[in-house]
């Protein structure tokens, strides 16, 4: 569909992915032709507001939600074409961390068993080996295995539960992790701990991350490149620093202006572009952002903008990109 500055042999190559949900006799256009690549060892941040399809995209990458069309190439193999045992084997290499750490742990199981479960599913029969791996990952995320393995999730705070979830996602030695809003349920002081931990784990285990979040500052803190999503489509992709310093898509600019800055000398921009995202059941024709865009004209309602290079490595899907 378009040519991004393709990193050499990307670990993940998502090509023109379309995901739709049925809703009564209507269709929710959750992801509508999204393409991107993630290089080995890279963190790609994916930002957007609720309902923009970012979580659906994350799930479709892992085949937890099957795409209507398009391909997901992981290390050269098309996950969308895989089924059964082949897909299960591939899943050992890809993991997912969810937003709500407490809800993603079974309240009746002990931490040691929760973290060991992926090993059992993967067929690691040796109990001593499983225990060794569980100890290793629990220590890696900063928990004392001897103290926590025998306890239940309710004995831990949200931040500690997220550490346990991260340990579970690491236990199979994956190459790629989708982090879906991993810190948005956590308090500010805990959030920083978990973000630092993710960065540490990434370096230590050589991980590649797709980091989904709605908070731009959080995304920037961990991402090499950032993709901005609006109503099922990518608006803009580019190197983090460049994209935040010089956004090319009006939606990226709107998001940046809307963030409350913890500095009283920075006056909040009085009512940035108003309105709300339209429904993904009946997305606007042409550019999906045009109903809220100050730059929109006739062409925007008729022609879908493709991602085009606006600066080295930076791509925007806009007919009237910002200078």
């Amino acid at each position: 569909m378009m040519q991004l500055a393709v990193p050499e042999a990307p670990l993940l190559n998502v090509d023109n992915l379309v995901v739709e949900y049925g809703l009564g006799n209507k269709t929710v256009h959750a992801v509508s032709g999204v393409s991107f690549q993630v290089a080995r060892g890279e963190t790609l941040g994916l930002v957007g507001e609720s309902g923009c399809g970012k979580s659906t995209l994350g799930r479709a990458v892992l085949q937890l939600r099957r795409a209507k069309s398009g391909r997901v190439l992981f290390d050269g193999e098309d996950l969308t074409a895989m089924e059964g045992e082949a897909l299960r084997r591939m899943r050992r290499r890809v993991q997912l961390i969810f937003q709500d750490p407490i809800a993603s742990l079974n309240p009746r199981r002990r931490i040691g068993d929760i973290v060991a479960e992926p090993l059992i599913i993967a067929g690691v029969k040796d109990a001593a080996e499983r225990k060794r791996r569980v100890h290793e990952v629990l220590s890696a995320v900063g928990l004392d295995p001897d103290l926590v393995a025998g306890r239940l999730p309710h004995e831990f705070s949200g931040g500690q539960c997220q550490r346990i979830c991260i340990a579970r996602s690491l236990v199979l030695n994956p190459e790629f992790i989708v982090c879906d809003e991993p810190v948005s349920a956590l308090d500010v002081s805990i959030r920083a701990q978990i973000l630092n931990l993710l960065e540490e784990m990434k370096a230590r285990f050589g991980l590649t991350l797709l980091f989904i979040a709605h908070d731009l500052a959080v995304v920037k803190a961990v991402s090499d490149r950032v993709a901005v999503m609006y109503l099922g489509r990518l608006c803009e992709v580019g190197p983090s620093e460049q994209l935040f310093a010089r956004p090319a898509h009006p939606y990226t600019e709107l998001l940046l202006q809307a963030i409350p800055v913890p500095d009283p000398d920075v006056r909040p921009a009085e009512s940035v572009a108003g309105g709300e995202p339209p429904s993904p059941i009946a997305p606007p024709s042409g550019c999906r952002f045009r109903t809220r865009c100050p730059r929109a004209d006739q062409r925007c309602s008729e022609e879908i903008p493709e991602l085009r290079q606006v600066a080295p490595g930076q791509f925007a899907a806009c007919h009237h990109p910002l200078a």
Binding site: Q193, A217, A258, P260, P268, V272
Partner: protein
């Protein structure tokens, strides 16, 4: 200086739990003048919501409150339930975090708006309806007349919060308490709602308390900020003074822990180690001491009182305040 509209004097709230008494609010003093905005900032469990419930007299039944809450010349703690009911919704209004749970799902928006207006303002139905439409238009709801007949589930989260604000504003309150009013909303909608609150506040000369976990939300919008930790106010100052020079290590650490837009990617964040103390096991010393990098033996032994040094309106509870030496008198 006129008498403050709201004075919270030595308020303590305790909740009985199976593990013992939980002190949610610990000897808090605050005041707010008419037309001003106070931001109360803190993390979950710091007591900020319980404090607002104490002001509204909407505490859980078993909660034990001591102290005084003076509002417009009356002590709300000692006010009869009937008088309280007349006050709440009229002079004293509230907007909660989750507009889906604060609106009644089985009543139309019109019914909910008109109910409040008719209850407090003694208007007849056509007048109440007219006023409802004006209010919905004022909070930026398109086609307000059609909205009156709709139910909350037919509106988006941002719309629902606008409706909740319309209900709160319906009787021209003297004080509006907004408890995490934008936490459930997206950033672009958050900015719109905060702008709306600020605009209506200016227009109505209403006092406002914004309760939030986000220092960014109060920075541009509150006149004064109180930072809470483990049930206590640990620092309180005019907003600009606070952000210029924080004295309490917790406030500084909280600000430092927020990822910044202008920081380079992969910059490690100065995280606060550990977590807040168990509120059923109060510490003898400063509650932040176990996580504080400046803490000394004294901090573990005694609780520092809320005091001021250079500026009379900049209060902090710390034995080792930071940034005190430089620029004194500047």
């Amino acid at each position: 200086m006129s008498a403050p509209l709201l004075t919270i004097a030595d308020v303590t709230v305790e909740l009985p739990t199976p593990r013992g008494n939980l002190r949610a609010v610990d000897h808090v003093d605050l005041s707010l003048e008419a037309g001003r905005t106070l931001g109360i900032v803190g993390e979950s469990g710091c007591g900020k919501t319980m404090l607002s419930r104490a002001v509204l007299q909407l505490l859980p039944k078993k909660a034990k409150l001591t102290g005084r809450v003076m509002f417009d010349g009356q002590d709300l703690v000692r006010l009869a339930p009937e008088s309280l009911r007349r006050l709440r919704g009229r002079d004293l209004a509230v907007v909660f975090q989750d507009p889906m749970t604060s609106l009644n799902p089985v009543l139309t928006i019109g019914t909910q708006l008109m109910e409040t207006i008719q209850e407090h303002l003694e208007l007849d139905a056509p007048e109440a309806r007219k006023r409802s439409i004006e209010l919905l238009a004022a909070v930026g709801i398109p086609a307000p007349e059609q909205r009156l007949g709709q139910y909350p589930h037919q509106c988006s989260g941002g719309m629902r919060q606008r409706i909740a604000i319309a209900i709160a504003l319906s009787c021209e309150p003297k004080l509006l308490i907004a408890d995490e009013p934008t936490t459930a909303l997206d950033v672009t909608i958050q900015a719109q709602i905060l702008d709306l609150l600020a605009r209506e506040q200016r227009r109505r000369h209403m006092a406002m308390i914004i309760i939030t976990h986000d220092l960014g939300v109060v920075a541009g919008r509150a006149d004064e900020v109180a930072v809470m930790y483990a049930g206590r106010v640990v620092e309180r100052a005019p907003t600009s003074a606070l952000f210029k020079r924080m004295h309490m290590p917790y406030t500084e650490a909280l600000l430092a822990a927020i990822p910044k837009l202008d920081a380079a990617p992969h910059t490690p964040l100065p995280a606060i180690s550990g977590r807040p103390p168990d509120p059923t096991r109060p510490l003898r010393g400063c509650p932040f001491a176990p996580r504080c990098r400046y803490a000394t033996g004294r901090c573990h032994e005694a609780k520092p009182a809320l005091t001021s040094a250079e500026m009379p309106d900049h209060l902090y509870a710390c034995f080792h305040p930071i940034q005190m030496a430089e620029g004194v008198g500047a």
